[in-house]
Amino acid sequence: MKKQQQLYKGSLNTIIMKLLEQNGKMYGYEITQKVKEITQGEMNITEGALYPALHKMEAEGFLDVEMDKVDGRIRKYYKLTESGVKETVSRMEELENFIRNMQNIVTGPDLKTI
């Protein structure tokens, strides 16, 4: 499980962006729970990794924030900006390419010759 977490780590920003693309706007805690739910507990985004990633993408202009009052407290929602949407498409392409290549390596017959 720990080794698997390392593999997910490199794709954290792409995962967050994809989730925001699918769900419109999300808040930090919601992202951690959604990832846990989709991966059936296999992937656990820690708070120490999630917020720096969100803040970095916000500073880069890929995410915008929106505030709302929920249950007596202020909630900070993240959503993709226009450049964030474009970036998500490009990062998803890269990720799909990576997965395809890994798949080919793992299942390919020429593995011994690498």
Binding site: Y27, G28, Y29, E30, Q33, T46, E47, G48, Y51, P52, H55, K56, A59, E60, V65, E66, M67, D68, K69, V70, D71, G72, R73, I74, R75, K76
Partner: protein, 224 residues
């Protein structure tokens, strides 16, 4: 589903402050995160106390707790604005702005090559005035933030950038030397040119950008 009371939410704000989070925008996000986690914990374990659930969730923030998070956010924002500064300064070394840079370098080169007594005194006075001005500006900003009811993280970034012109003067200590070598003249002209470009970019590009960001942040929180 068991929800947090207003008193418990206030306790969470106190908890974040106690753990060195002084910026309201960061506090708000952490309070909501902790509140969600505690409420989720109550779903599974209804008998756990508020304090025990809070301590349990706080452990998930790692050994550095919230301070690591604040430092990372500050570093991210500083890096972002440093990248803008680098990009803007680079533009002064490409056409057409390079003409301005070369002209500035030439004027400074001439000035450092033939220093007169009056020039030396003027240069020193200018440096002292600039030092006092930037220091006064930094103190003004620092006090303004300190006295404001709600502090936002972006304000600490603005304070950092306001302090730079003054720090750089102290660090470089631009001075005019009598009978300078060619190396000294070129070095002084280059560092002064870069300093002037840096200050120009800082005051005409970065500070307005940060001010705009502070305004946007305040507006976002005012609407709630």
């Amino acid at each position: 589903m068991k929800k947090l009371s207003q008193e418990q939410i206030d306790q969470l704000f106190v908890f974040t402050k106690k753990h060195l989070v002084e910026h309201y925008d960061v506090q708000v996000e952490l309070v909501d995160h902790l509140a969600n986690a505690i409420e989720a914990e109550w779903e599974i374990n209804p008998n756990i106390s508020f304090t025990a659930a809070l301590e349990k969730e706080y452990k998930n923030f790692g050994v550095f707790g919230f301070s690591g998070l604040v430092e990372q956010k500050q570093a991210t924002l500083q890096n972002h604005y440093w990248n803008v500064i680098k990009r803007e300064i680079r533009s002064f070394f490409s056409i057409p702005k390079i003409v301005l840079t070369l002209a500035l370098f030439y004027v400074l080169f001439r000035f450092y090559s033939n220093p007169t007594e009056l020039g030396e005194q003027l240069w020193f006075s200018l440096e002292v005035v600039l030092l006092i001005m930037t220091l006064a500006l930094w103190i003004y900003q620092y006090r303004k933030i300190k006295n404001s009811h709600k502090k936002y993280l972006i304000q600490s970034i603005s304070n950092y950038f306001y302090s730079l012109p003054c720090t750089l003067i102290v660090f470089f200590g631009f001075s005019v030397k009598s009978n300078p070598s060619l190396f000294t003249i070129v070095l002084s002209s280059t560092t002064t040119t870069l300093y002037i470009l840096f200050v120009a970019v800082l005051f005409f590009k970065i500070i307005p950008l940060i001010k705009n960001e502070i305004g946007l942040t305040e507006k976002k929180f005012q609407h709630i």
